[in-house]
Amino acid sequence: MEVLPASLAERLRELTYNERAVAYLHVDAALTLMGADGHLDNYGLAAVRLGEPVVEQVYFLEGLLPLEESSYFVPSVELDSGRAADLHFHQDGATVWVVLLDVTAARDAARQMQQKAYEMTLLQEKEVQLNRRLESLNRDLEAANDFLVTISTKISHYLAPQIYKSIFSGQKDVAIHTGRKELTIFFSDIKDFTATTERLQPEEITFLLNEYFTEMSTIALKHGGTVDKFIGDALISFFGDPETKGTVEDARACINMATEMQSRLAELNVKWRSAGKNSRSACAWASTPASATSATSAALTAWTIPPSVPRLISRRVSSRSPSLDI
């Protein structure tokens, strides 16, 4: 070992003793405190009593004595005084030296670094947890959305496509309100339907009506008509809501629709006739101001047509020859 110049060695000893607040305890084999000196007050040990058991006075030594090895070191121990010390244990024959070196400044610097690192890690853990919660919420939302899509798809079969579209796209509000609008209303039914039904089996009637309404609804939609409802063999549709091209254009579209319906019905009749079924329809229309209201219930919102309109249309339908008249 190289020997330092005497003056330097002395300076180092002074520096260590003062800067590191050196203190020591000397303990015998019976764990009695034989000696103690140095900066004991720095560690709250100024009142230790020689000749008495050391562990009862210096409680942080509990479990550490006697030594299991000749030299032993416990770094950065924070004591009651708030100071942090490195504890060095040194076996000297049957006795043990316990040396305390102040490391408070180093402990504080290390704590600052460690604190930042831990806070960063905690933030990252929090972020991961939040992302997991977000993913879980998204899954719930997707499930709820799938459910709504299923429900709305089912509902769509009971609503005119235009109405369905305007409601589910958010264009149309379903709040309860009353309005007034000029609509072109179309009405048709199958001539002598009651007599026809008496000749056919229920399954045949269902087949006939399904095909008839499917074909007629397709034509109505093609021309921009809103299929309002089927009543028995009757079909009611209107032009002007939720989309309108103006009263005149709406009425024109209604006429075009009715013409096409009649043509298509003629084709269907050929088919049905070959199958032993025959059918003719009559139709009529009228343009009229109509009011929409929920009446007394929020359960249903529908256009309510003034009573005079159906009577007018009905008269027109019954006064004309079924397969010709528009």
Partner: protein, 185 residues
């Protein structure tokens, strides 16, 4: 004359699980919201007055285990038992606690220990299921029971039960309280 016993107990667990807060609450009845990390070890004394004796618990609050700081096993020398602390809101800290338990058992044998799940006041944020806890409890207690002639064994402490320190002679010392350092002791 009343007997005075002195026992070294170590607090072990991942970082920021609340070891220091638990000790501070237990010893000084003080809780602070501010998180201050522990470097090295902080040593406190708690005197527990039992009917027939007084026990000085020398509590070694060890720096939390993480990727950088690894537990110095020499710090457990002379320990009469230890408290494994985990944070109920951070499941990874339970793994850390169980890993520490294995390492301590490997070096020191079956010392008495208590597994303590902290932060019961944040129960709505807990991420460890009751089923997982029940399984864990069964596993830990079961493992201890399988060892013949062992007077020391560990247990799982959860919920509103206080820190329990089982002494070498098998006498439990219990202070009423909760596993959250915020709760009144």
């Amino acid at each position: 004359m009343t007997t005075v016993l002195q026992k070294k107990i170590c607090m072990l667990g991942g970082f920021s699980v609340g070891k220091t807060s638990l000790v501070k609450r237990y010893v000084q009845s003080v809780f602070s919201e501010t998180y201050l990390t522990t470097v090295g070890v902080k040593i406190d004394k708690k005197t527990v007055d039992l009917s027939d004796r007084i026990v000085n618990l020398i509590l070694w609050d060890l720096a939390g285990e993480d990727d950088i700081n690894s537990l110095r096993m020499t710090n457990l020398r002379g320990a009469a038992g230890y408290v494994l602390v985990a944070d109920g809101t951070r499941p990874s800290t339970l793994d850390v606690a169980l890993s520490l338990h294995k390492r301590v058992e490997a070096d020191f044998g079956p010392l008495p220990f208590v597994l303590l799940l902290n932060k019961s006041d944040l129960k709505e944020q807990w991420a460890i299921s009751d089923i997982a806890l029940a399984e864990l409890q069964q596993r830990l207690v079961g493992a201890a029971k399988q060892r013949p002639n062992r007077r020391r064994r560990g247990g799982c402490l959860q919920g509103p039960r206080g820190p329990r320190f089982e002494l070498n002679d098998g006498s439990p010392t219990r202070e009423p309280g909760r596993t959250s350092a915020r709760a009144d002791l």
